[in-house]
Each structure stands twice: as C-alpha cells, then as structure tokens.
Amino acid sequence: MKKKSSKYNHSVDSEISFTYLVSQKKLTMVAALGVTIGITVYLFMTSMTSGFDRMSNDSIFKSSPQIRLYKDDEMSRPLVPYSDSNKIAAVVNPKVVPQSNRIVNPANIIAILKQQPGVQIATPQVSVSVFYNVGNSLVNGTSSGVEIIEADKMFSIKATMVEGRMEELDQVPNGILLGVGIAAKMSAETGDNITITSSRNVIKVMKVVGLFETHNSALDKTKSYINIGAAQQLLQEGPSYVSDVNIQIADYKKAAAYAAKFSALTGYKAEDWEAANATLTSGAAVRTILLTSISISILLVAGFGIYNILNMTISSKIQEIAILKAMGFRAGDVVKIFVRQAVMIGLIGLVIGLLFTTWLIWKVSHVYVGGDMGYFPIRFEWNLFLRSIALGMGITLLAGYLPARKAAHVDPVSIFRK
C-alpha cells in the first residue's frame, strides 16, 4: 500500500504500545495474571488428565493385551431359509455350536501376525480355570499358560515381582508365579510346592518360583502364571493347543483398526483392549472431556480479561488514536499498536504461567498417593506445553485483535468534532 518505501523503519508502533503497557502497569499485570492462571490451570489439568489416562491404560495392560485373538463361540443359524416349497424347512434353536475353542495351527498364525507391519509381539497363551488347593478348601482362580519372557514384554510382569525370579519359570517346567493374594491364603512362599486342580479335573503339583503384586486385588487373589506346556497338560491337550494369541502393536491407540484387520486376516475374533475394557475407557473419556472443558473455559476467561483491558485502554485513548490517524498512522499501524500490547501481556502471562506450572507439576509428581498409583501420575509432557502456548497465544491474539480492529476503524473527524 505504501507509495514509496521509507528510508528508515523506526518501529514506532511497538514503541507506542510498549509505552502504553508501561504507563498502566497495574492493568497490564492484572491482565497478565489472568493469562497466568488460565495457562496454569489448562496445562496442569491436561497434564493430569494425560497422567490419569496413562495410569489407567497401564493398569489395563497389566492384565489385558492390546489385541487378543481367540476363537469365538459360534451360534447355530436359527432358521435355515428354504425357498423350495416342495421341501420342508428345518427350524433349529440357536445354540452354541459344540466346537473346540482352539486356534488351529497357532504357529502358522503367529508367524503371519509377526510379519504384519506395526506388530511388536505375538505370543500364544492358554488360559485355564483352576482351583488352588488350600487344605480342604479350594480357591477359584485362573492360570495363564504363557511364554514368560514374551508375556513380560507385554504385561510388565517383572516389575510387579515381589519375591523370587520371574525368569526361573522358563527353567522350571512345573513352576508357577502366584499373585500375593493367593499366596497369602495358601501361606505359600517361593520354593514351596502347591497343588492345583484344573476344570478338566487334572491335579498337578506346582513349584512356586515367585510372587507378584499388581495392587489390583482381584488379580492378586486369583491370577497365576505357568508355562504354556503345563497349561496344556492341565487341559489334557496336546502341544499345538492354543486358546489365545496376544498381540502388541507399536501404537496402542490404533488397536481397534488393527484388530479389524487381524480378524479379516486370520478368520478368528480379534478384540482390542478398548472393546474389552469399555467401562474403563468410557470413564477416561468422560474425565478427559470434563477436565478439558473446565480448563478451556478458564483460558477463555483470561482471554476476556485481555479483551476488557484493551477495550478500556482504547476507550480512554480514543482521542490519541484519532490524532495518530490524523498524523498519518494507518489503520494497520493502530491494529499493530494494540495487538502488540495484547501479545506482550499474553507473553508475560504465558511465561509466568509456564514456570509456575512446571514447579507445580514437579511438586505434585513427588506426592505419594499410595495404592497401585504410587506417586501422583503426572509428568512433563512437551506436546502439552506446546499446545498450551499455542492456545494461550491464539486466545491472546484474538482478544487483542478484536478491540484493535475497532480502534483502527475510529473515524478521527467524529472524535475531533465532539
């Protein structure tokens, strides 16, 4: 728009906005404080949400794989439609087709799955319902027959070990890793022999090689890990019997898509962790929406603070804006003057807010809450910091631009003629 470019650019616009900013320190600080509080609440809340999500996912992945491949029960067709009127239609009641729930040729299927892009682990599992024999009484539970090293990569079993060595299970064919809850009921310690009975009435003596504690009492009181071979024996099945294949992929958030793909690929039912734990994941979704909406509203309130203060500044300086326009400041210059003011307020608020939140997160992450949480599940997440900065600056710019545009459209004549 300039007719000829000026020889010098004295950035007089920023000089004026800076002078306005300094000459009303109190207002500036109040507006900046609003941004500080908004950013702090937003960043802290989102960090907390993300921490909770991570924690709840971790606890889900302790017991359920990202994707579980198994043979689903098949229902018989309720009615066989028959169009030929000369023949009699057979009506059959729907019922479970009496088939074994085994995966046929598991080695082949695991090999195929492992070749799929994104698949990190595919490992077989045989789940057995068992009774732990405690004197005359029986304690009901489940035993997972696994390849322990692979299973550990998936369920982080080693991290939950409280006694014995997890790796020993690999070397002891009739070894068993017991949850601390069952161990306490059986007064079993590492090295003891215990007896378990399977649902097929096979009784087997097992050697306790270690105890684990997940802090989830339902698991700790029922679950145990044994070798896959021992599990096959308990079910009176041969070495090719596999009930589940557990799959871990690179990005657990894409599990649903992968599950659908694997279902089509193998012909077995592939269930992703979100479908298997819908109660927990829906709870997490509600929590995320709640916290995010609260924190965004607070950020918006901070935006209104800037908007208000700039509006006040502009109303009180309307004559100065008029004279600046009379002296040859363009509409764009006026916008710059006030938007820069907003940006500086936003930056001050942002920097203080980020520092304060950093301190807050550091402090809270050292709070011990106990249970299976341990320390408060919060940590620094740079993408959340970046998102807060972007959102804070975005709201600041908008809150500054709207009043600034109004100021730019001030008609100097109407001001001077009053």
């Binding site: 000026s6 010098y8 004295h10 002078t19 004279i323 009379a326 400041f329 004549v413 001077f416």
Partner: protein, 232 residues
Amino acid sequence: MQEDIILQADKITKYFHDPVKFKVLNEISFTINRGEFVTLVGKSGSGKSTLLYILSTMDSQYEGALTIVKDKVTGQKQDSLAVIRNEKIGFVFQFHYLLPEFSCLKNVMLPALRLGNYSRQEIEERAYQKLDLLGLKDQALKPSSKLSGGQQQRVAIARALINDPLIIMGDEPTGNLDSKNADVIFDTFKQLAHEFNQTIIAVTHDNDFAKNSDRTIEMHDGKIISTDKKFD
C-alpha cells in the same frame, strides 16, 4: 507573477444524513497558494469545519474533487490518504491532543518516526529545532501533561511542523487559549507564513485572528460568500 497553487477545491459538496439528509457544503470551489495564511470564518453551522476536515483528507465522504499540489486526493484509499497526511499536512486543533505518556520531544518526533525519512538521531535534532523555533527547547524532556495550555498548543504546532508539511491546517487553534497565548500562537503562524513560506489554513471564530491573516474565506449556509473578506 505566476502563483504557485498548493491546494485546489473543485465543486465540493457534502451531505449529512443524520437525522435527515442535509446539504452542508454546496459546490465549494477555491484555490490556495503557497505561503498564504488563510482563515476560514463563518457562523457556527456554516460548514467551515466540515470543509476543513475534507481539505485535511480525513473526511472522504463528499462529491467534487480535491487536489493537493498536482496530486488528486479524491478517491484515494484510506492508507494512501494516511501517507499524504503524514508527509504533507500538519494539524493543530482546538485541543492539543498530545500523548500524555510521552515527553514533549517524543510527541514532536512521532510523525517523523512514522514517516521514516531520517534517522532517529536526525529526527531528534529536527524536533529540538522545531521546539526551539517555538521557544520550548528547555521543556523538551518534560512529560507533555506537565506543561501549561499555551505551551502544549505550541508543542502541538512543533509536532505539526516536524515533517516540513506543505500545509498546516488549524481547527480553531486559539479557541481554548487566553488572549495572551492566542497572540503568541497567532504570531507564530504569521512568522511561519512570511518567513518560512509556510501555507496555513485555519478555521477560526476569532475576528482579530482572521483580520490579521493574509486572506479570509467567509462561509454562510454551506456556501462561500467571500474569498477575500475585508474587516473594517
């Protein structure tokens, strides 16, 4: 001698639309030469201020044509008009409209900083010169709000002069001042016109002020009734 025409108004007509359509200016045409000290007089409501704001390029809602030097101003975009005001026109209003947060010196420098034809140091020197011309060099670093009304008005004149404008426009520049300060301002204008060949157009109610200017354009009901009014 060939007169050097600096401003030309050609059939300028303007309407007010609120509350009812009303013709404020009716085909105003006149020219102003370089170095002239012209006053616009007339009763209140005669349209003299309205005319001045059109001449100043701040009001662009009119019919007719306005030419400053050989540049046709009518129909230009707002940003180009701003550049014209910045470079070629200086303003003095009834009220000084100095920015109270800035020193007198900074107030004078602002239009030049916007224009950017000189380095900051040169602008500062020039601002000191202008303040010196108006006898305010010793007040330069004071906040503008600390000065007396007459001094503030003189700072405003220094600000109007900083970019060496072609025309200085005044809207009742002495309207808020006592007679002593008004005389100082008047003498300043006269000196600028005669010693520095500065063109000045001022709207005024003050008959003494008008009487002593080079030429007086008198308006009545949106028309010029005399372009060379003589006072008795």
